[in-house]
Structure formats: C-alpha cells, structure tokens
C-alpha cells in the first residue's frame, strides 16, 4: 500500500529560482527552501501530490474547472516564462493519478480530467526547490483559488481528505509527499499593489492569523475563518490558501515541525513529518 510520508507548505513566487541562483543557496530565500528540502529529503518520498492553483495557463476562462487532476505519464512546464528556467518535462504517475481521480469522483468530488497538459510557475517553483533534477513523479491536483466563485474551504479540506484516503488505498507500495502551495495575502496586478510594484501584501494581519492557526494546529478554526470574502480581502490571489487547507487534511491535526512566515511576501514555508 502507498503511504503518506510528509506534508509541506510552500510559496511559488516565480522570481525565486532566478533569485536563489543569483544570491546563493545560503541567501534568506535559499535557506527557507533548504529547510523544507531537508525535511522533504529525510522523509524519502518516491512521489509527490501537489495541490495548486493554476494561474490561467493550464486552463482559461473559456473552460475553468473548480477542481481538476492531471492524469498522464508526464507534463511540461513552466510555460509562463519563468526567469532563468526553460520549459522542462516533468515526470508524473498516470496509475496513481487515475486511482486518485476515480476515488475522488466516486467520493462525490467533481474533479475534471486533464491530459496532455502544461503547468505554470505555481507547480514548477516548489518542484525546482524540492526535486531540482525532477526525479520524482508528480501528480497535480488543481483548485481554483483565483477566479470567484471559489470553492468553500471546508470542501477543499474534504477533497484533501478524499485524496489522502485514495493514496492510502493505492495498492502499490509508494512513499508519497504532499505539497500545498500558495500565498495567504497577495495582490497581483490588482488595485492594492504596492507603488511601483506588480504585487502587494494588503493584509499582513491575515498572514499572522493564518500562520498562527497552522502553527497551533487549529485547522477547524482556520477552515471556518477562510471564507471567500476573507481570503479575497487578503488579496486577489488570497484564495491560494485553499491549497494549504487541502494539504492540512494529511496532517491529522498535528502542529508542523516548523512554519516560517514571511510577512513581506504574505506567504510561509512549513513542514510536517508523518510517522508511518
């Protein structure tokens, strides 16, 4: 049987691969990723399931799923011109993905099928730092956290739980790491950007509140607080928190091994080791 060996929360800021290449692995951003990477490596994962919000690159407004799951032997990315990163082929695991989607649909979650697809920085950047050689198969689960109406936080947590149960019932032995990626407070090219910048952090208080809930394993309180209105008040991509909430279904109400919040970026880095 497959097993869950670790859960990780990560940002996906598109400039980070370039920034860390320029400034070095011991730079502040490099060190934050390295701390999660050390926990990730210690868990010895053989596959990754990542909860992610596509930034209208895999999908578009002509056909926009609320939930979707990539099912293929591989996919390509990043396709949105991430600085210093060519488009690469990322290995996936069609057998696991097929199993996850079947279980999710049978469990009542309407998860769209995605094949022959490409992803953007939001999937790629976490992989760049966790598995730089792209040596592990990756199954992406997409949650619409950008284009209202957003799915309810409770529904995303329950989807996470359904995916978790599906992994645990996968009949092959496979050590699976789960990643949730996104910001808690971030405005991209909307009215609340900082002067002269393409982005802004409109709601530092929400970053504190979310991080505090996660640090203290108050998952029900976080889910209750994370209404659409509250998340969008924190920025036009504030719904990316839903990817973390889906990931939190894997941690059994435990506190993280650590959570490092970055107020100036409105996001955090966190890791949970999961005993077998």
């Amino acid at each position: 049987m497959a097993s869950i060996v670790g859960a990780y929360g990560l940002p996906h800021t598109p400039i980070f691969p370039f920034k860390v290449a320029e400034e070095g692995a011991s730079s502040p951003t490099g060190a934050l990723f390295a701390r999660v990477r050390a926990a990730f490596d210690a868990a010895r994962p053989e596959a990754i399931v990542i909860f992610d919000t596509d930034h209208l690159n895999t999908f578009f407004l002509d056909n926009l799923p609320v939930f979707a799951l990539g099912v293929d032997e591989s996919f390509t990315g990043p396709v949105d011109e991430v600085r210093g990163v060519p488009v690469k082929t990322i290995p996936s695991h069609a057998g696991l993905a097929t199993h996850l989607r079947r279980a999710a649909v049978h469990g009542g979650y309407d998860v769209a099928l995605v094949q022959d697809f490409a992803v953007d920085h939001s999937v790629y950047v976490p992989l760049h730092f966790m598995t730089p050689e792209l040596s592990l198969p990756v199954v992406p689960v997409f949650i619409n956290g950008h284009v209202p109406p957003l799915p309810p936080a409770r529904r995303c947590f329950d989807l996470g739980m359904a995916v978790r149960r599906a992994i645990e019932s996968y009949p092959q032995p496979l050590r699976v790491a789960v990643i949730g990626t996104g910001s808690f407070s971030l405005e991209i090219y909307g009215p609340r950007v900082s002067p002269g910048r393409p982005d802004g952090v409109p709601d530092p208080g929400w970053v504190d509140e979310v991080s505090d809930h996660i640090a203290n394993a108050r998952i029900d309180a976080l889910v209750a607080a994370a209404t659409e209105q509250r998340m969008l008040h924190a920025g036009n991509v504030g719904g990316e928190l839903l990817n973390w909430i889906a990931m939190l279904a894997f941690v059994d109400g435990r506190k993280p091994d650590f959570i490092d919040k970055q107020m100036e970026n409105g996001h955090a880095y966190a890791a949970w080791s999961i005993p077998s």
Binding site: H55, L56, N57, F60, L61, D62, V79, D80, E81, H146, V147, I188, Y189, G190, P191, R192, V193, S194, P195, G196, R197, P198, N236, V237
Partner: protein, 87 residues
C-alpha cells in the same frame, strides 16, 4: 460576453509570441482580429487598465500588458493607474 475577448488578448500576450510582437509594434492592427467593443478596444489602446478593471477584466491577466510593455504601459505606470480602483 465580449469581456472574454479582453481577457483573451491579455492571455495571448503570454502564450503567442508573434501576437506579443505585433502588440508591441502596432497594437491597433494586432487587435483587429478580436471581437472587442469600441470601449474595450479604446481602453486597451490607451493602456487604461482602470477602465478595463471596472469592466471586469481579470487583473492577473491584465498584468501581461505591463509585463510586456504594450500600449504605453510599464509596471510602474500600470500600478499607478490600477491603484486608482482601490476601494
């Protein structure tokens, strides 16, 4: 529904490099193929992202107008204009 066309224009700036080059060189001609309303077309050509935002265009996609510096926009100019829509 033509607002979809505004969003398509922005999306194509990222994913269609030929269109991106034509938008940088002669945006009026490049936009001919898109079924935009007169107001939408005028707002794009003027780099009037505040009007586009109020019409309902997707801000993340509109960012490509600034990133690829079309219709007189740069990131700072875009920011100055979009910030006028703040509540």
């Amino acid at each position: 529904m033509t607002l979809l066309a505004v969003n398509r224009v922005c999306h194509a700036l990222m994913h269609d490099k030929d269109f991106r080059a034509r938008m940088q060189a002669d945006p009026r001609a490049a936009l001919q193929a898109y079924p935009l309303s007169d107001a939408e077309r005028a707002a794009i050509l003027a780099g009037d992202v505040a009007t586009l935002y109020r019409l309902g265009a997707n801000a993340f996609l509109m960012g490509y107008l600034a990133r690829f510096e079309v219709c007189g926009l740069t990131v700072p100019i875009y920011g100055e204009r979009i910030r006028r829509c703040a509540p």
